[in-house]
């Protein structure tokens, strides 16, 4: 046998680091409208190539083209635009509030607004999301009060979660939004369990699991795929690939696999990739996957190809690990601008109306913020009581906690 030489250890690296010129030439972007739309009861084996392509609807001219277009009316798209703009404005205000010391922490969605805003509109009341910390569009697009979100972020006296959770870890059963843990990937298998329960109960509600590119490396992701595949659970398995897991580029979690969507193929799960910055494409693919789940056809994996324009959180500085202008070079553009251009192309929107809407939304968000701040911020004004700290660990407080509460003097 020939001498194979010394073994070499391989660590993947992103194309470019700070100081370099952003380069996404390795990201193949299919033309809008070029990926076919199969029937929802398609044999998964015949659409394996969809895990390696990108479904897109909006082209550079702002037109909606191809087989995935035409599901939403102009009115619905205008509403979608408003949701994304609201989320962006909400984020900007809360980011600033954190910098002003009104809360400890914040996580924004900049560049990823289409994913959660458009997905929500594909669900029915009663369906349940198991979100990560970057899907607040699910709440905004479902009409959850911004004041409640802000009360949670400020951990103030009106915080629906009584100050127990880190900012942005919302919970709203009523709005189909499972309590965010803050631990990664754990909720993915829980979503599958919820979906299994719905099937066991002969219900019609479905679940949506959410995870980021980095967290797909967790074992719970693989457990979720096994369970979803084995029991054909009515669940949509969403992977938001925003290219960066804090400072770690997506190649570290993806490894030698071509795409994250391709992870689903080994489990026999139909797996699609979609342009995550294209509101129409996200909605159309979500609708397809939700319909499959609802018709008892089992799970679908969807990878949203997008880009995290902002920092991971207020505790992060991306300039230390990626070129500053990288987001400008991202080939799939900005979701708000793309939908705006499409609506202008459709003749139902204009630059002036957009500017006016921005001002109106800012006013609404500021009004909500004022109301929330009247209930306190993290270090000032009304806050949850020390007594609240001891409540809710169990349905009924056990003796040892009662004794500790007495010791605490509350």
């Amino acid at each position: 046998m020939a001498d194979a030489g010394m073994l070499r250890f391989h660590v993947p690296e992103p194309e470019v680091r700070p100081g370099g010129t952003p380069d996404f030439s390795n990201v193949t972007i299919p033309k809008a409208g070029s990926v076919p739309r199969p029937e929802i009861d398609v044999d998964p084996r015949t659409i394996r190539d969809m895990a390696f392509s990108i479904i897109r609807v909006l082209n550079r001219a702002g037109e909606a083209v191809g087989p995935w277009a035409g599901l939403l009316s102009d009115q619905e798209l205008l509403e979608g635009l408003r949701h994304m703009m609201t989320l962006r404005t909400f984020d900007a205000r809360m980011q600033m509030a954190q910098r002003q010391g009104k809360t400890s922490f914040y996580m924004q969605h900049l560049g990823e607004e289409a994913v959660s805003c458009a997905f929500r509109k594909a669900l029915q009341p009663g369906d349940m999301n198991f979100p990560t910390y970057r899907q607040a569009g699910l709440l905004i697009a479902d009409g959850y009060p911004m004041v409640s979100m802000m009360n949670q972020i400020y951990s103030n006296e009106a915080d629906p979660l009584k100050g127990r959770q880190l900012p942005v870890m919302y919970s709203s059963k009523e709005h189909g939004f499972f309590s965010i843990s803050g631990n990664l990937a754990t909720q993915y298998i829980q979503a599958v369990g919820w979906a299994m329960a719905s099937a066991i109960s002969n219900d019609s509600r479905i679940a949506a699991a959410w995870i980021g590119d980095g967290s797909t490396a967790e074992s719970d992701f693989h457990a979720a795929l096994v369970f979803a595949s084995t029991y054909k659970a009515p669940v949509v398995l969403n992977v938001v690939n925003n290219q960066w897991a804090i400072s770690t580029f997506q190649g570290i979690a993806r490894g030698g696999s071509g795409t994250f969507a391709a992870r689903g193929l080994g489990f026999g799960i139909p797996s699609l990739r979609v342009d995550g910055n294209d509101y129409l494409a996200v909605h159309a693919v979500a609708k397809w996957a939700v319909e499959r789940a609802r018709r008892n056809l089992g799970p679908t994996m969807v990878e949203y190809v997008t880009y995290r324009v902002g920092a991971h959180s207020t505790s992060d500085d991306p300039s230390a690990y990626r070129p500053k202008a990288e987001s400008d070079a991202w080939p799939l553009g900005d979701p708000v601008i793309r939908l705006k251009n499409h609506l202008i192309h459709n003749g139902v929107w204009s630059e002036d109306r957009h500017t006016q809407a921005e001002a109106e939304i800012l006013e609404t968000v500021i009004a909500a913020q004022k109301e929330a701040e009247s209930h306190g911020t993290l270090h000032a004004g009304g806050k949850p009581s020390t007594r609240d700290m001891f409540e809710g660990v169990y349905a009924e407080m056990p003796p040892h906690l009662r004794r500790q509460r007495q010791q605490a003097g509350v």
């Binding site: 349940m128 198991f130 629906p160 979660l161 009584k162 127990r164 959770q165 870890m169 919970s171 709203s172 059963k173 499972f178 309590s179 843990s181 631990n183 754990t186 909720q187 993915y188 298998i189 829980q190 979503a191 599958v192 369990g193 919820w194 979906a195 299994m196 329960a197 719905s198 066991i200 109960s201 679940a207 074992s219 719970d220 457990a223 979720a224 096994v226 369970f227 084995t230 809710g392 660990v393 169990y394 349905a395 056990p398 003796p399 040892h400």
Partner: protein, 337 residues
């Protein structure tokens, strides 16, 4: 009254619970068609169908994680982890998710799950089939932890656990499945059919969580025990002739502190025993509580008898296991102190 083994009592509890409440779902590795490696779920799939009792992939985090999702939906899953030694892949789901869901969501979502698992040694199971990880769960806010010691309790406590609104860790001392093993491994075990605690009433009954039982009344020393060690402690008392009061804690969290304190104040002495390793074991918590609450009644230091701080060995099983001789020595030393 019919007498049952502990496995039969557990199966009975599952059967009664599934019969009363269609929300109760039972699954785990080998749990469905076969009925579990210890046969605790035998016949349940045939009786209640594959939607209510089924086999799971070998993925403990998947089993517990999916159960949390089911509980959030509104079902009451009672899942089996084949051995407590295998629970660690599910530890994150139990600690970070199940235990905190009610708290972190302010009751918006709750997690009424039961995670059953055989615990403890004495079966030549080596380091991967003998561990007693109860302290890893009693340390977690939001969990309840039960260790039954006999068929009657196992049924009543398991039904109570399934009906409890919060997540419960149900540790089944597997050496007790067939009889009240007292640590004398060289002698045959009395079968539950010949023991009064093998009497298991038909139908539904519960035993309240957080209530200890006095298994042997005495005035010289209190022994705090649970699971298999309840019988080891009783054997040690008989064999040393020491008038020990043996408490079976039954539920470790919430703990029946009143019964413990009343007994120790009466006897003035206390020995804490468990199979699990000594350092940071649940015994450390018990000793602290005893000294905090009974200090001026104590006539001797509180002693601990536990597994040595080594991994659970194979060939040296009976050198490791804290049997009646070691417990007996601790009783004598505590009385002589």
């Amino acid at each position: 009254m019919p007498r049952k083994t502990m496995i039969e009592a557990i199966r009975d509890a599952l059967d009664v619970s599934m019969g009363r409440d269609s929300q109760v779902i039972v699954y785990g590795e080998d749990v469905g068609f076969f009925g579990g490696v210890f046969r605790a779920t035998q016949g349940l799939q045939a009786k209640y169908g594959k939607s209510r009792c089924f086999d799971a992939p070998i993925s403990e985090s998947g089993i517990v994680g999916s159960a949390i999702g089911m509980a959030a939906y509104g079902l009451r899953p009672c899942v089996e982890v084949q051995f407590a030694d295998y629970v660690y892949p599910a530890y994150d789901q139990i600690v970070s998710e199940a235990a905190r869901l009610r708290y972190r969501s302010n009751g918006d979502f709750t997690c009424p799950i039961v995670v059953r698992m055989p615990t403890g040694g004495g079966i030549f199971g080596g380091q991967t089939h003998s561990q007693s990880p109860e302290a890893l769960f009693t340390h977690v806010s939001g969990l309840k932890v039960i260790v039954p010691s006999n068929p009657h309790d196992a049924k009543g406590l398991l039904i109570a656990a399934i009906e409890d609104p919060d997540p419960v860790i149900f540790l089944e001392p597997k050496r007790l499945y067939n009889g009240p093993f007292d640590g004398h491994h060289d002698k045959p075990v009395t079968p539950w059919s010949k023991h009064e605690l093998g009497e298991v009433a038909d139908g539904h009954y519960t035993i309240a969580l957080g209530k200890a039982a006095i298994r042997r009344s005495g005035s010289a020393v209190t022994v705090l025990a649970y699971g298999t060690m309840v019988y080891v402690a009783q054997a040690a008392a008989e064999e040393t002739g020491i008038d020990a009061e043996v408490l079976d804690l039954r539920t470790l969290l919430p703990l029946d502190l009143d019964t413990i304190v009343n007994s120790v104040k009466k006897t003035g002495r206390c020995v804490v025993v468990h199979e699990a390793t000594l350092t940071s074991g649940f015994g450390a918590e018990l000793v602290s509580l005893v000294q905090e609450n009974c200090f001026y009644h104590l006539e001797a230091p509180v002693a601990r008898v536990a597994g040595w701080d080594t991994p659970y060995p194979h060939a040296q099983e009976w050198d490791y296991f804290p049997g009646p001789a070691r417990v007996g020595r601790a009783l004598i030393e505590t009385l002589e102190a």
